[in-house]
């Protein structure tokens, strides 16, 4: 049996490929859910509902060959009980260069013992509009990251109290 095609076959047309996902730095943390849906080309988000927060979760806008479908969402937007977005977390399939996210002149480095015997280190970058960008790293020399969190700087104390103290001290020292 041969293949009978009903629609027009176009030869030699370069296939458009996957839709590029937005960049983490493109978010202002003021996006309403409807704006996010548009930014992800109409992808319907997974919504996590808890009494004190809501999350909208999106996959990267690529074919399933290129992302894990087992519950890991590339993009997670956290809204608290006020309805205001507090953070966006990007979990990347492909890493991003640290130099593009945390230019040396803008980069702060902090570390803390999070559990007995476990030390966590983060790169932090202040951004306009009450925002900070945060990535966990294993070394100050890290060159790529696969996760970045953009959070309201005014909210850091609620989710990462130790980092809020470090940022406050840094702010005081820089005056």
């Amino acid at each position: 049996m041969g293949i009978a095609v009903l629609t027009l076959i176009t030869l030699g047309v370069a296939w458009g490929g996957s839709i590029l996902p937005p960049h983490v730095l493109s978010f202002t943390l003021n996006e309403a859910p409807s704006v996010l849906v548009k930014k992800f080309s109409g992808q319907k988000p997974n919504i996590v509902k808890q009494p004190t927060f809501r999350m909208l979760q999106f996959h990267e806008a690529t074919a399933h060959e290129n992302h894990s479908c087992d519950g890991a969402f590339a993009w997670e937007f956290y809204y608290d009980v006020s309805g205001e977005m507090q953070s966006v977390t990007w979990n990347g399939e492909a890493p991003l260069a640290v130099s593009k996210l945390f230019p040396t002149k803008d980069r702060l480095v902090f570390s803390t013992e999070t559990m007995p015997g476990t030390t966590a280190m983060v790169f932090v970058r202040r951004l306009p509009g009450d925002r900070v960008l945060i990535s966990n790293v294993s070394s100050p020399l890290q060159t790529e990251v696969q996760q970045a969190v953009m959070m309201r700087e005014s909210a850091v104390g609620r989710f990462l109290p130790w980092l809020a103290r470090e940022l406050k001290a840094d702010h005081a020292a820089s005056k």
């Binding site: 076959i9 399933h64 979990n91 996760q147 609620r158």
Partner: protein, 657 residues
């Protein structure tokens, strides 16, 4: 319109949350069901109380307050308030029946009812074994597809094994005498994942999406908002834990325990048997819990661990720099990295760690909580050296060319867990992981042949159990959840077309979607993918963001009469998916609606002591409780009744069993 309503209701719901004010909460779900002495962390959260001192907790009137530590000051819900938590870790209810737990603090009160199922095997009673087989995503259609491919081969040369609508020889899992259906919902979501489902069948309780062996708590907001990483790890691991059946049997009755999988061994399905974390991504912590299990006083959770995922054990790919390969060996584990090495391990080894794959380019993820990518084993279709259809990717073994098949892994695990004399009681889980992993990107061949691989492993277990002098081994076959593959029909496709890797582009214009371009391969008739502007608007080729018409609009699909005629030239149980002498062209056509999980019920088949318990429709958590009942009670009467049903010549026989 749907999208707009969705986001509006989100805004409304958030506004109403400002009235939330419960100040005392026992962190147990509404329908908590436990076995007698099944350990659970009893956690009481105190919010908005001026003083958190003076908590009183009773269980059916008995004061158990002294078991609680606290109050520990903490910020619950990440809202800047000072709250408190009390914990009674690893608490077991010995009273059978309904237990009412009441927590009071001042005028605040929280009440939770717990149902406790007895587990008291008769003294001296022979311990029974359990082998739970999980085809990841293996819903009904996946079993059907494996049957149609594997059992349409000739049973007599020149005589098809599927004639006039009957099979000569059904699958091993089809031959099990009892079947039922299980509902797989998470506690917070209709469509589940492998983590909450594995935790549900191992703990007997509904678990939230992505979580493993824990209930939600008030610090989850930290890792929800700030990502899952080394910085938030403490909030991922502080959730109330619930003991699994594997841990319970090892702790109370010295069962040997095992996990056998073709996935990374720290992936959700194997991990669900003995780990406790708010999210399945905490692979480094999961690996550590395999070595130092918190329910087992820091002893290893398993005696046999077989699968992929070397990277999670390697010091240079762990943030804590621990060499877990060395530490497992120090605890008496024999370590194997190839099928050859595994086959040489004697039954007397006692403990075996077999890791047969590392992810290509594996490294410590910058999150600090895992290595990526996953070191899943390669799929059966590729291990067999078969040629992939044109739309499915060609494998890169990356040097791992001696990986065992699931049936050999299963046999080895049984040999070691049952001990040199075969009298050591054990419980093990065997998973064919890539039924799911191949189904996500709609790779039909990879999916179907992995299901056949699982069935061969079922055959190993059935054969071993059948040789036992006593009916002492319960075999179960099920799935964690379903995916969307369905049986479309039969098509005639030449090898030339099936394996042609030259794609051609199709353009179409549809109302609303506009001009779209899709890439089609000639294997499209055997594999009707979701990804042609169908259910996933974000998939490649659809630039409109809208759903388009299904692939049948692009490709004129014509089904033919008759049945598949796959060939198994070397008789190894795996058809070669090749035509020869004019035969082998009639191939199964399957279709996919999406690349995601679904919320459909999944089949459960059972054989052995207590198998009759598994008939009917029930919740996935009932698998654990039914298994516990089978292990702890005398099932002779029901086993005899089942035997009479199957062996009575007056009752109809199933063709092919």
């Amino acid at each position: 319109m749907l999208q707009r309503n969705c986001v509006l209701s989100l805004a409304i719901a958030l506004t109403s949350l400002s009235a939330f004010g419960q100040n005392l909460q026992i962190l147990l779900p509404e329908r908590t069901r436990l076995l007698q002495d099944q350990r659970v962390d009893l956690v009481v959260e105190v919010r908005n109380a001026p003083s958190a001192a003076g908590l009183r907790v009773t269980a059916n009137g008995t004061d158990i307050s002294a078991r609680f530590e606290g109050p520990t000051q903490i910020d619950l819900d990440c809202n800047g308030t000072t709250d408190a938590v009390y914990r009674a870790n690893l608490y077991g209810f010995n009273t059978v029946g309904n237990v009412r737990v009441i927590a009071t603090l001042g005028s605040a009160e929280s009440i939770k009812d717990v149902t406790v199922q007895p587990f008291s095997p008769a003294a001296g009673a022979r311990r029974k074994n359990v082998i739970l087989y999980i085809g990841d995503a293996m819903g009904t259609a996946y079993r059907d597809a494996a049957r149609l491919v594997a059992r349409s081969v000739d049973t007599v040369p020149g005589v098809s094994g599927l004639r006039e609508g009957y099979f000569d020889n059904l699958l091993e899992m089809d031959k099990m005498p009892v079947s039922g259906m299980a509902m797989t919902f998470a506690s917070d979501r209709l469509v589940p994942d492998s983590a909450n489902t594995a935790s549900t069948w191992s703990t007997g309780n509904k678990i939230m999406f992505n979580a493993m062996g824990v209930f939600p708590d008030g610090t989850d907001c930290a890792w929800r908002a700030a990502g899952r990483n080394a910085t938030t790890l403490a909030s991922l691991l502080d959730n109330p834990r619930l003991e699994t059946l594997w841990e319970y049997l090892k702790r109370r009755y010295e069962y040997k325990t095992g996990i056998v999988t073709t996935a990374d061994v720290t992936d959700a399905t194997p991990a669900g048997e003995a780990t406790h974390t708010g999210h399945r991504e905490t692979r480094a912590a999961i690996t550590l819990q395999y070595l130092e299990n918190p329910m087992l006083a820091g002893q290893p959770a398993f005696d046999v661990i077989l699968g992929g995922g070397i990277e999670q054990f390697e010091a240079d790919k762990r943030a804590d720099r621990r060499d877990l390969l060395a530490e497992f060996r120090a605890k008496g584990f024999t370590y194997a990295t190839t099928a050859t090495e595994m086959n040489a391990v004697p039954a007397s080894a006692g403990r075996l760690l077999g890791l047969f794959r590392r992810g290509n380019g594996a490294a410590l993820n910058s999150s600090g909580i895992r290595a990526t990518p996953d070191g899943n084993m390669d799929v059966a279709y590729d291990k067999l050296g078969l040629t992939r259809p044109g739309s499915e990717p060609v494998v890169n073994f990356n040097g791992f060319t001696d990986q065992p098949f699931l049936d050999r892994m299963t046999q080895k695990a049984i040999d070691i867990l049952s001990g040199p004399n075969g009298d050591q009681p054990f419980i093990m889980m065997v998973e064919a992981a890539s039924i799911d992993k191949q189904s996500h990107p709609n790779h039909a061949a990879g999916t179907i042949w992995d299901t056949i691989e699982l069935d061969k492993a079922v055959g190993v277990g059935r054969a071993w159990a059948g040789r036992r002098a006593n009916n002492d081994t319960l075999l179960l076959v099920s799935a964690d959840h379903d995916q969307s593959m369905h049986i479309i029909g039969v098509v005639d496709v030449s090898d030339e077309d099936l394996f042609d890797r030259t794609n051609f582009q199709l353009s179409m214009t549809s109302p609303g979607a506009g001009a779209q371009t899709a890439r089609i391969f000639k294997d499209a008739y055997t594999n009707v993918r979701a990804g042609y502007n169908y259910a996933n608007p974000s998939d490649a080729g659809n630039t409109s963001g809208r759903e388009g018409p299904p692939v049948e609009t692009f490709v004129n699909f014509t089904e033919i009469n008759g049945f598949p005629d796959y060939l198994d030239s070397n008789g190894d149980g795996y058809p070669e998916n090749r035509a020869q002498g004019g035969r082998g062209r009639r191939r199964l056509s399957v279709g996919f609606r999406t690349g995601n999980h679904t919320g459909s019920v999944v089949p459960v088949t059972a054989e052995g002591p207590g198998a009759l318990l598994f008939t009917g429709y029930y919740d996935q958590g009932d698998i654990m409780r039914k298994t516990a009942a089978a292990l702890s009670s005398d099932t002779t009467a029901m086993d005899n009744m089942l035997r009479q049903i199957n062996e009575n010549p007056n009752y109809p026989k199933v063709v092919g069993k």
